[in-house]
C-alpha cells in the first residue's frame, strides 16, 4: 500500500507528517511483534580489566529477541540465559 493510499484512507494531507507517523507506527509494530528481525555479531574479547565484559546493543535495536554465543567446539551459536539480578557478591572485578 502506498503512502498516498494510506493518507487518503486516513484523510490526511501532510505527506511529511504522514511519513513520520508511519515510521512511529512501524516502530510500535516492531516492539510488539517480530515483523522483521535483524542479526548483529560482535567479537568477544578476553577480559583484562573491569569493563571488558560490557557489550553495546546495536544502535538501531527496538526489541531484543535472543542472545547467543558461538560454541567454537562445533561452530554453532547457542542461546544463553539471562541473569535476572546482577552478581551480588562482587559487582566489579578490577583485575580479572
Amino acid at each position: 500500500m502506498t503512502v498516498l493510499e494510506i493518507m487518503e484512507r486516513a484523510d490526511m494531507k501532510e505527506t511529511t507528517l504522514a511519513i513520520a507517523y508511519i515510521k512511529d507506527a512501524i516502530h510500535l509494530i516492531q516492539s510488539n511483534s517480530k515483523e522483521k528481525v535483524k542479526v548483529s555479531k560482535q567479537d568477544i574479547i578476553k577480559s583484562v580489566d573491569s569493563d571488558d565484559n560490557v557489550y553495546k546493543f546495536p544502535a538501531d535495536m527496538i526489541a531484543l529477541e535472543h542472545v547467543s554465543i558461538k560454541d567454537t567446539s562445533d561452530s554453532k551459536y547457542k542461546r544463553i540465559k539471562r541473569l535476572i539480578a546482577p552478581p551480588h557478591y562482587l559487582l566489579e572485578d578490577t583485575s580479572p
Binding site: 548483529s40 571488558d52 565484559n53 547467543s68 554465543i69 583485575s95
Partner: protein
C-alpha cells in the same frame, strides 16, 4: 575453546549494555584469581576468559527499511534449481542452464533486489542492474560474484527494495493487514491532534487489533470449551 556455552555463559542487561559472564567450574575449571569470582545465588561467575571472533550474536527487531519502492505483495520473483552458475564479469551475472528466471508470475526485472541462498560462495543480497541483461537465463547484478560452476541447488528470491527518500509513491514495508493497521494509527494521531481522546483510543484499539490478527493469521489454533450444565443454550 568455548564449549557448553548454553549452560556456562550468561548475560545481564544493564541499560543499553549487555554484560557477559561465564560460569566458573564445569568445563572451565580455571580460576583466574580468588578475588575475581562473582557469586550469584549458588553459582560462581567470572568474566569471559577467551577471544571469540564474531562470538556474540544478538537477534533483535529494528526500524530497518520502513519504505520500499514496490509493494510487498508484488515482490514475487523466484527461481530455484541446480543449473545456476556465477560469473564475476566484467558485468557480474548469474546464468541458469534451465532458463528458470522468467516463470509466469515469478520473473525478475531490472532494478529488483534479490537474495541468493544455497550457493557455495555467493550467498547474499544483490541488486539487479538497471541496464544489464535480465531475461529467462541471465541476471546481471551491480557488484561482483565469486566464480562458481553450476551444481549446488541455488534459490533466488526477490526481496523488497528500500526507498531511502520516501514520498507519496513509496510503499510501507508491511503486508496489507499491517498497512491497514497504519491507517488506524494515522487516524488515531489525527484524533489526538484534535484533542479527541475517545476517538484516538478507539483507533489505537483497532490498530492493536489488527496487529493481533496479523499474528494469529500465522498460527491456526482451535480451542474447545466444555459447556456448563447451567449454561444458556
Amino acid at each position: 575453546m568455548s564449549s557448553y556455552v548454553d549452560r556456562e555463559w550468561f548475560f545481564y542487561l544493564r541499560g543499553r549494555e549487555l554484560l557477559l559472564y561465564k560460569l566458573l567450574g564445569g568445563s572451565s575449571s580455571e580460576r583466574i584469581t580468588q578475588s575475581g569470582v562473582f557469586k550469584t545465588q549458588q553459582n560462581e561467575l567470572m568474566y569471559p576468559d577467551e577471544n571469540i571472533a564474531d562470538g556474540l550474536r544478538i537477534e533483535y527487531t529494528a526500524l530497518n527499511e520502513p519504505f520500499i519502492a514496490e509493494s510487498f505483495e508484488a515482490s514475487t520473483g523466484y527461481a530455484s534449481g541446480t543449473g545456476m552458475s556465477f560469473d564475476p564479469g566484467p558485468a557480474a551475472t548469474i546464468s541458469d542452464s534451465n532458463d528458470g528466471f522468467a516463470d509466469t508470475g515469478k520473473a525478475f526485472a531490472q532494478g529488483d533486489k534479490i537474495r541468493v541462498q544455497g550457493s557455495a560462495s555467493n550467498d547474499g543480497d544483490y541488486t539487479l542492474s538497471s541496464s544489464g541483461t535480465v531475461d529467462e537465463d541471465t541476471l546481471t547484478i551491480t557488484g561482483t560474484f565469486t566464480t562458481e560452476a553450476a551444481g549446488e541447488r541455488v534459490t533466488i528470491t526477490q526481496i523488497p527494495l528500500e526507498d531511502a527518500t520516501p514520498d507519496e509513491t513509496s510503499h510501507a514495508n508491511l503486508n496489507r493487514m499491517l498497512s491497514l493497521a497504519l491507517v488506524d494509527y494515522l487516524k488515531a494521531m489525527e484524533a489526538d491532534k484534535m484533542g479527541d481522546i475517545q476517538k484516538k483510543e478507539y483507533y489505537m484499539k483497532e490498530f492493536y487489533g489488527k496487529l493481533g490478527d496479523n499474528e494469529s493469521n500465522k498460527r491456526k489454533i482451535s480451542m474447545s470449551f466444555p459447556i456448563g450444565p447451567f449454561a444458556v443454550r
